[in-house]
Assembly symmetry: C2
């Protein structure tokens, strides 16, 4: 094949990966990488940790340098060079050299857009007057924040937005001894999770001393930003404010070239990652993708998709029969001592799409309970109660959390059902897992539902059931109830259930709860076998209590 001229806009995750693969597939192509910033190929994901002093070597963030990568892959990398306009007819790109101000054109045979996304900056009173409000996307952003902290000896910070960058920044600023207030407009942090799972994260934030302010937003920045006024009227003083309320696709170049963008603002591409124009590909944070499970439009600004898409685009340009089948949105974040991971659809999305689903919660130990160091982990699995198809999963805990999510993400790609999860042969020795891994366990519980061996209700339904006269049976031991129980429940410990079952009405459904759902399940099966109609509370008192704790805190005076 004759050498072609390929231009890549954006020299970081998606762009650099595409460039490297393109060169591996051909020495002949002329490959130009345009990057408007100073740096290429840097570790965006490491930036919070460098600010926090966990990563100490700034150079470690720069995975490749302009010079090194140019030489290694024979690339024409132009940093501080912004692509400003595409002429699709002529197949030329107008480029502005940001060092010199010069504007020039380059022709292309193929154009790859990987311009990423930029932090959303709301239009708020006092924002312009404040010098202490930062967003975090790039190395220069990082340098600025770090410099500000060092220079001003910042003591108090306000973080706006409880997504993963907000939470990573909370941890890292605390790590530097800075007092952090975290302001979140929604009723939960970490939107990849459902409410009850996010409650565990919320609790950890409180335990770590973060001043978490939920369901409140910023109204204005006062006193050059040193006071943040919330919509509730509350005032927070701030040496440093981080705006982390999400990102928006860098779509201007595409839009002005007449390429379609979606209602979320992302560039629209086909399964080969081609835009409306077959010679222009787009990848990474800038595009809309299909949700892998539902095949609906979505945006997933994460590093894996960007890297993967960069590789695929290079392959497609070289005539390989590849396609991108959508993004699962597998994610993980460290939040102080917790690991928080998720894959696929959550309940909020399924509700929104009106898709019938069921969910199970299990709280097994990360490894064999008799071996030291095991830590509880909470795993939620969402699935189709008729077919067993897996929709998604969420896990929160201290150890072995992302392992379980990776396994489920793999199972989804293998088109496995919840029954198949029970059948996964995962590695077991006491320091690592149990003979039935937490994933197997979630699979068993879910499969029992599909198989009609078990019905469940959820933490957010049980109070109402009890209020309307439903019978709620707590099968824990009386001592356990001393540490808390669901109002209105009656107590028959599991060990006494067979003898005392006659105390329960036969013509009413019996709702059963225990600590994590396991004894409840045993009780449900016993009752069913004796002809009762019995229903388990998914995740038991533990899931119920996770949410209750927040509610109580929210009700408590500040």
């Amino acid at each position: 094949m004759m050498g072609r001229k390929i231009i890549i806009v954006g020299g970081v995750a998606g762009g650099a990966t595409a460039a490297a693969r393109l060169r591996r597939l051909s020495e002949e192509d002329e490959i130009i990488v345009l990057e408007k910033g100073e740096y290429i190929s840097y570790a965006n994901c490491g930036l919070p940790y460098y600010i926090g002093g966990v990563i100490t070597d700034r150079d470690a963030l720069l995975v490749q340098t302009v010079e090194g990568m140019s030489k290694k892959f024979k690339l024409d990398i132009r940093n501080l060079s912004e692509a400003v306009e595409i002429d699709r007819e002529l197949q030329t790109l107008t480029i502005k050299n940001l060092k010199t101000g010069t504007v020039y054109k380059e022709s292309y045979d193929k154009l790859i857009l990987s311009p990423g996304a930029r932090p959303i900056i709301p239009n708020l009173e006092g924002y312009k007057e404040a010098a202490n409000i930062f967003t975090l996307r790039s190395v220069p952003d990082t340098d600025q924040i770090k410099h500000w902290i060092d220079e001003r000896k910042a003591q108090e910070a306000v973080i706006i937005g409880g997504g993963f960058i907000g939470l990573e920044m909370a941890e890292n600023l605390m790590h530097r001894g800075i007092k952090v207030s975290l302001v979140e407009l929604g009723n939960q942090v970490m939107s990849s999770l459902d409410y009850e799972m996010s409650a565990i994260v919320y609790q950890e934030l409180l335990d770590q001393g973060v001043n978490v302010i939920m369901e409140d937003g910023v109204k204005a920045f006062r006193d050059q930003g040193s006071t943040v006024e919330l919509q509730s009227g509350r005032l927070l003083s701030s040496d440093l404010t981080i705006l982390s309320i999400g990102v928006r696709a860098e779509n201007e170049l595409a839009k002005t070239a007449g390429l379609s963008t979606g209602k979320r603002g992302g560039i629209i591409v086909n399964e080969h990652l081609q835009t409306d124009d077959k010679n222009i590909y787009a990848i990474g944070d800038a595009i809309e993708v299909k949700d892998y499970i539902q095949q609906t439009q979505t945006m997933v600004p994460l590093a894996w998709p960007a890297n993967r898409q960069g590789r695929l685009v290079a392959d497609h340009i070289h005539g390989k029969a590849v396609s991108y089948n959508g993004t699962l949105g597998t994610s993980v974040a460290k939040v102080f001592n917790l690991t928080v991971a998720a894959t696929g659809n959550n309940e909020k999305l399924l509700d929104q799409l009106g898709i019938p689903f069921e969910a199970v919660h299990v709280h097994p130990s990360s490894n064999a309970s008799y071996y030291p160091g095991g830590r509880p982990l909470s795993l939620k699995l969402l699935f189709d109660p008729n077919t067993g198809k897996i929709f998604g999963a969420q896990a929160v805990g201290v150890k072995g959390v992302e392992k379980r999510i990776d396994v489920i993400a793999t199972a989804i790609k293998g088109n496995l059902t919840v029954e198949d999860l029970a059948d996964l042969e995962l590695s077991y020795a006491p320091p690592y897992s149990s003979a039935k891994d937490p994933v197997n366990m979630a699979g068993y519980v879910a499969a029992n539902i599909v198989d009609k061996e078990l019905s469940v209700v959820h933490y957010d339904e049980i109070d109402e059931i009890v209020a309307w006269g439903g019978v709620l049976l707590d099968v824990r031991e009386p001592e356990e109830r001393e540490r808390g129980f669901i109002q209105g429940s009656i107590n028959i410990p599991l060990g006494q259930l067979r003898e005392r079952r006659h105390e329960l009405p036969k013509n009413h459904p019996i709702y059963v709860t225990c600590q994590v759902g396991m004894r409840g399940y045993l009780a449900v099966k016993t009752l069913m076998n004796y002809g009762y109609q019995a229903v388990n509370l998914s995740g038991g008192y533990k899931t119920y209590e996770m949410v209750q704790r927040i509610k109580n805190k929210e009700a408590a005076p500040l």
Copy 2:
């Protein structure tokens, strides 16, 4: 359904699980569990750690007690009761009460055999006279070993057999301050691994101060066992000898009842885990299973299969359409600081079965290299070079090891190919992984082979290639070569390859090596693009050196 009478032989992993599930599925069946030992439902896998003092609470090993489990599941559990004969015609079982010596019969509708396996005890001179030789299978074995160590203040131990129980015992005895010699007849420890991967484990054993003696076996026990004489003539003094050379199925009951056993001694079952007699099921360590990948006969004495099969048998008895599709043999063990995990077929097995395969080795970091705490991990992936079908994988390292094996085990169950491994969307944040997870990376490398973008040779082929005049190019920097290189290799650092490529012959294949195989791959692609025939050394110098180190040690005087 009318209540049936079901008898289970063996009350630990497989048996106890079957009993629990049977009860959940019906209150009416009469369920009798026979256990010849004192304890049921104990954590076999925890025993080495209790001896080592890592698990301190003996009761923690007893997952269920006879009394507790009888009550919880309404079971008739009879410990110290041995099943001694099956009358298949009459459907009765002869039982010996080991407390009283009484022998009696029980009829059954269904019989489940989960008698496990017992340690192999070779017929060696001096064995009978020695009181300090132990095997480890049960709680009483554990008590005996622990008692012996405590009473005799054991200082030196000999462990015979470098399988996973042998290695776990080595670690645990060292943990108690006992000097350990490990004697292994084969040329490697940990037979789940291939030779080069086991070399990493071998090195760790040496680093931890274990006196590892390879390719030598016991000839005799002298002086009541206080001297162990090896076949080489070498003498080891021993306060305590652990025999851990493998297990043999407990098959007598089945055999004398005329049920088929295989050439490995395991009870033969069909896909419903039924023996020749449809009313008699057999599960766990006592049976032969199909290798999941090749569907050949094998035995996999591990806890997951026993638990899984116990569940399935209960379901099958209750008319559910379930079947057991074979065992992958996913396993993991902690060996001092290392985690050693594997799934599916290894090279030794594939060779033995004459199945064409290819292997790749990658040595990525457990998490993003710029984030502290990442540790190298070595991952070997075996696959069909034509179809990309995954045969198996092995991983050794300090962190994140079993996670990768679990993902690959899941991929295998999902029928995914090596190309699909590259496409797995795994969770990424710097503390946990890289944007391309090690599993993705192994997938990419393997997929390149399937796709004919890359050919490889292996650590055990390269010396001969060089000896026969093959050109071996080392693309590392000269400084790196100072720490070791493959004899006969020439050096052109990757960065100079394009300019200096003319130094290489065009009419000969160029074999390329670097540190881990990655730069080698870049060099291979560059050379191929310039019309050279280039072949990468899989796993680079690192894989080569792992083996070399052992060889040198073995050659060195003792």
